[in-house]
Symmetry: C2
Subunit: 173 residues, 2 copies
């Protein structure tokens, strides 16, 4: 019998805190000596602050693999698509090496057609029993929610930009 | 002019991730060399994992000051009320010593009548301009939301207990 039941965890919704709460989970799991891989699917979701802090932890591997994909006209370049697939394959090939794998903004990557929902479902199917798998990104598709054990929606109630306040060090970057 | 505009940030809602996202903010802010105080208003909101990890950071001070308050019959003991007030006074007296102060489950403490909403509003009013203040807990009152710059609601969409899965190391504790 495996020593634990690894969970499939989804952070979705239009609010802040999806990536941040994943970092908080890493913070907690590191205290148990967990080995953690965090893969970045969309460039810009990680900030200077966490990259600095993460350096303190040998067990916390961060892999920025996304391109600077921003959808303005709904078009997706082949290059962006390739980068997202490389990130997914990279994680998939290493699922057995970690206690927790965080696929940051992977759901956003599905939403913009960079990768297919079924490719992510396959990765979930291949997950070792003991591995905690965390997926973040807005608009999580039904099938992924159905496969998850724990789903939290982060809803934006109020944002400082609405009040004309600029991005702040330590909060936004 | 102050070097930055400190934000008042609220994590509320019935879902997981309120404390976890606050830890993630601390993780990010530590990378900028921020000095952080996190005060616990309700015992049990912090887990072994984060307490272990926090030890690695000289700049991250955690103060468990809450009692094991659990409302089953809606009654509040004088001892619980006193503990909550001590936690609030402790933080209030030290607002000037930190770059970020996290009052964990302070909003929950308001909801159960341990402290008064106006006492928390006074603390917000006294906040130094440059301090980031983070308040967590479900059912944030309107007046606190009105005073906040950034409010995220964590909504529970799906929880492993619904599927009969037990609490897991590194996730729940």
């Amino acid at each position: 019998m495996p020593e634990r039941k690894g969970l499939v965890i989804v952070h979705t919704g239009n609010g802040k805190g999806k990536t941040t709460a994943a970092l908080g989970m890493a913070f907690r799991a590191l205290g148990h000596g967990f080995k953690i891989l965090m893969v970045q699917f969309i460039k810009g979701s990680w900030k200077y602050g966490e990259l600095e802090t993460a350096k303190k932890f040998e067990n916390f591997e961060l892999r920025p693999m996304g391109l600077g994909f921003v959808s303005t006209d709904g078009k997706v370049s082949e290059k962006d698509r390739r980068a997202a697939h490389e990130a997914l394959s990279f994680a998939q090939a290493r699922l057995g090496n970690y206690d927790m794998v965080i696929l940051d903004e992977v759901i956003y990557a599905i939403g913009f057609g960079l990768i297919n929902e079924n490719e992510v479902l396959s990765l979930i199917d291949e997950k070792p029993e003991r591995l905690h798998l965390v997926l973040t990104g807005r608009n999580a598709p039904e099938k992924i929610i159905a496969r998850a054990d724990l789903v939290t929606e982060m809803c934006e109630i109020k944002h400082p930009y609405q009040k004309g306040i600029k991005a702040q060090k330590g909060i936004e970057f």
